[in-house]
């Protein structure tokens, strides 16, 4: 698959293409970081997954497009890896001056603010990951698969789209209540 096909696949939340991307670049990525940063396989495997998630985020929010990609996707991915490594392990802070890394940085330069935001994200992620049925399937079908409520109703045996809407509202409210505990 070409870089364009991979980027399009990420943008469309295509499970198959994303899985293929992972299998294509996993060895290259892990070998690079195991060699250059002396990290074990489990660590770099987690680093690779985190980097893939960041890549997805950059593609879906428009930060990275086929037109804006100035290097190969593998090079871009390595850059994400370095940035993610820096965020995880402070002793690699020296790589922050890498120009490529600068392009990937979040808007805020305040490390405190960055840390707070990442902590919040982590909490939200954890709360969502602990969702039970039917909220997990319903919200995944809606936000990941981008299915209409009518299609979700058919898939999950709801009476109609309105029933799906009502259930979705309940799921979101439940999550928001849990997440607000973090803020408090």
């Amino acid at each position: 698959m070409t870089d364009k096909e991979f980027i399009d696949g990420f943008y469309e939340n295509n499970d198959r293409i994303i899985s293929s991307f992972y299998k294509t670049y996993r060895f290259m990525f892990t070998s690079y970081f195991m060699t250059h940063y002396k990290k074990d396989e489990d660590y770099v495997s987690d680093l690779f997954q985190d980097s893939c998630i960041t890549l997805w985020g950059n593609i879906t929010n428009g930060k990275l497009t086929n037109d804006s990609l100035s290097s190969s996707l593998s090079t871009y991915l390595i850059s994400i890896g370095k940035f993610t490594l820096m965020a995880k392990d402070r002793k690699y802070k020296e790589i922050v001056n890498d120009e490529e890394i600068q392009k990937l940085r979040f808007v805020e330069d305040d490390e405190e603010e960055l840390k707070n935001r990442m902590d919040k994200e982590e909490f939200v992620y954890k709360t969502v990951s602990e969702m039970k049925s039917p909220c997990s399937e319903l919200l995944t079908a809606f936000y990941w698969d981008k299915m209409s409520q009518a299609d979700i109703a058919r898939k999950m045996n709801y009476n109609n789209a309105e029933s799906v809407s009502t259930q979705k509202y309940k799921c979101m409210k439940k999550l928001q209540t849990l997440i607000n505990k973090f803020v408090d």
């Binding site: 899985s19 996993r26 997805w56 990951s129 919200l139 936000y143 809407s165 509202y169």
Partner: protein
């Protein structure tokens, strides 16, 4: 539809990029003015992002699991191959060892048997020699003198001298046969019989010589030839072949 549903749907429409340009601009304008909308939007966006990341993480973890399972299967396959190869090598090694051992046993048995047979033939040779009486040797007969010499050499174990003397005596007998052609009548008959007896004795000495040296096959072959003939040692040869060899 409730107001809250509408707000959620409106936010979802914006998050998923399903608004028209006009709708989007209006929404973004509302966001800048309405803090409650902004808070709701940020909360909903957080959850929408997290739902997608959780699903994405599952895809990535499944892919990782598939890669590791594939690697494990390949390693197992290699291990199985190596184990099979090792087993085959071990089996081949075992087979080689068994074959070598079997061959060694066969050689040992064969050698052992030959040693026994050699020993047995030597004893037989000694036995046959002890049953022989010394030949008569008249002073004017070099052939008889040789025969006596051969007898003595067989007794003392001078086998190579005995072998040489046997050949010399054969040569002497051949010469005498040639010379006797000029004879006739009773004299020719006597010489012929005497030469025949001497030749048969010489043949018997060769058998005993070979037996005393442990030459089983050569001795057996000679005994068979003697047993199949009509000589004076025919019965002795037959007895030996039947009872001892």
């Amino acid at each position: 539809m409730s107001v809250n549903d509408n707000i959620q749907e409106r936010i979802d429409k914006y998050i998923q990029g399903k608004m028209s340009e006009e709708e989007r601009l209006l929404f973004e304008s509302d966001l800048s003015k309405d803090m409650k909308l902004k808070t709701e939007y940020e909360s909903q966006k957080e959850i929408a992002d997290a739902v997608q990341k959780v699903h994405l993480k599952n895809i990535l973890m499944n892919a990782e699991e598939e890669l590791r399972s594939s690697k494990t299967r390949k390693l197992r396959s290699i291990e199985d191959t190596e184990t099979a190869s090792h087993k085959i090598r071990h089996l081949n090694f075992s087979l080689k060892r068994i074959t070598s051992l079997a061959a060694a046993i066969i050689v040992i048995v064969f050698v052992g048997f030959n040693v026994y047979r050699t020993s047995m033939v030597k004893e037989l040779g000694n036995e046959c020699y002890s049953q022989m009486s010394a030949p008569v040797s008249r002073s004017d007969s070099p052939i008889e003198a040789n025969m006596l010499e051969i007898y003595k050499q067989l007794g003392s174990g001078d086998y190579s001298l005995a072998q040489q003397n046997i050949q010399v005596t054969y040569d002497m007998l051949d010469e005498l046969k040639t010379e006797s052609k000029s004879l006739s009548g009773e004299e020719l008959e006597y010489i012929t019989q005497m030469l025949s007896i001497l030749e048969q004795d010489l043949e018997w000495y060769k058998v005993i010589l070979n037996m005393k040296q442990g030459k089983f096959r050569t001795a057996k072959k000679q005994l068979k030839a003697i047993a199949n003939g009509n000589g004076i040692h025919k019965n002795d040869a037959k007895t030996l072949l039947k009872e001892k060899l």
